[in-house]
Symmetry: C2
Subunit: 322 residues, 2 copies
Amino acid sequence: MNKALLAAATALALALPLAAQEAPKGYPSPAEIIAAAPKGDWVAIPAEDLLVMTLAPDSEANPRIVVIQLMPAPFSQGWVHNIRLLARSGWYDGISVNRVQDNYVTQWGDPNYDNPEATGEPKPLPQGLKVMGEAEYLASLTLIKGSEETMTSPAGLRASADPYGSSLHALGWQLAGRDMKLWPVHCYGMVGVGRNYSPDTGSGAELYTVIGHAPRQLDRNIALVGRVIEGMEHLSSLPRGKGELGFYAADEADKRTPILSVRVASDLPAPDQPRLEYLSTESQAFETYAEAIANRRDPFFITPAGGADICNIRVPVRRVAD
Amino acid sequence: MNKALLAAATALALALPLAAQEAPKGYPSPAEIIAAAPKGDWVAIPAEDLLVMTLAPDSEANPRIVVIQLMPAPFSQGWVHNIRLLARSGWYDGISVNRVQDNYVTQWGDPNYDNPEATGEPKPLPQGLKVMGEAEYLASLTLIKGSEETMTSPAGLRASADPYGSSLHALGWQLAGRDMKLWPVHCYGMVGVGRNYSPDTGSGAELYTVIGHAPRQLDRNIALVGRVIEGMEHLSSLPRGKGELGFYAADEADKRTPILSVRVASDLPAPDQPRLEYLSTESQAFETYAEAIANRRDPFFITPAGGADICNIRVPVRRVAD
């Protein structure tokens, strides 16, 4: 396996041999299928859909940049509107990572907002934030059962048979569906909106990402707004908080990682805008890739699983080649 | 929610509100169900089944202790034999964590064994290690279809309907089954045996734990031998490796975390032996807990999931109260 493929596989966190000896020949791995996908199967991610979050450098002065892809319509638009507004107003600048709960979430926001370890007053929010309803936790899409057309709009929905009754991909996102409804799924690296008890649905000022096994119970109970597509390790490897719910306790407030800035990529000078693309979930290459994950036959594997859950079938994302 | 319950919930990494305001009244949470379980529903874990792994202290001189529960019969016995032998021979003392791949595994062992970044010769293994066959990736248990008795031995198998065709618990472990066979499942925190390409099955000298979403493709392809039940955060929050497969690269060998010692708890002086117990997967309390995870109705939740995957239903483990 060559280094380029290994790097791609590492970035995508696919299954790989647990040691690094030379691989025998065999069926292609998911990473090899991705690498061989035609250029035309990749979809550019608009700079307007990318957030660039700059954390304070680490203890060795290495930069820590996290890139988040915001969901396009028809997913979570009200919250995504709020997040762009919060970013553009500079509200996120100077907040921090306040909570890291193992096998659950890393959460960032105002350290004085609903934090049992707060020491000051919450930061005022900007004007113009939308208040969303709980019905919006579902995508504004409907499955049409028994029809050739699987969604009202837009076309193209990839279904797989394994868990959740049905596991689905469309428009570059991991979805679940039941009773004619679709919703985005809490998988590793997905970004959601912290909220208080119902009927609060959160504004987008408090955000979290999943750092463990998919917490299925949060689906349809909280808004998902995007996913971390670069720099996830800067959020997943932070020290876990010892306070309630994994918040950093009063005596470890120095562990809060400062967030220096959050920018919508389209507001950055062109050379600073990350240029990224995802493998179309409607492409033949994606179909081949998903099938290979469900039934690994590349050299390390001896027994294909015969299925994969929706969170195992991540949507490949990469830098656009120059 | 009181602090004891919060602590229990945090330790178990259950779903919890994303903010810490006072909860309204409602159905009990999984953590509350666990806290209310009768004392008789808890099963003591034998000290012979516990490994105490002491990592070098962290950068602030805090101790880092990881406790691993080894699987009892009928799961993975040959490898577990090897692991006790390796621990008792002192072979593990002085090895290190050499690989941390985001959303996949943290792996420890001899830094010169099958490591693309090796700088020396591998450490010789002790005599007496068993060589296991690939058939042993399956448990030595058989499902008896359509019978009152669900396993040949021992009795007691809790089935849930959701993913994997069937998701199962028995004897305190998370299992999957198909075609009359059972196998343990790669969930977050499970410990497995690194191996090379087939027909190698690994000795137990190289071990890893899952630090992300369940890598289903590894099930039935690699041996599982236990799970981390305390100190998981010391393995999951380590810096990710920049080398191939997440190994620490040659210029970051200083990131390898030294493992000072690994002891079978029964070899420690009695006061130093961790005393732990798990909630019987055959108990009514476990049944209630598992159902509550599949259908959260405690105050934060508005839409019960209607199912849970096997890795969401973790087996509760706690310290024995004095």
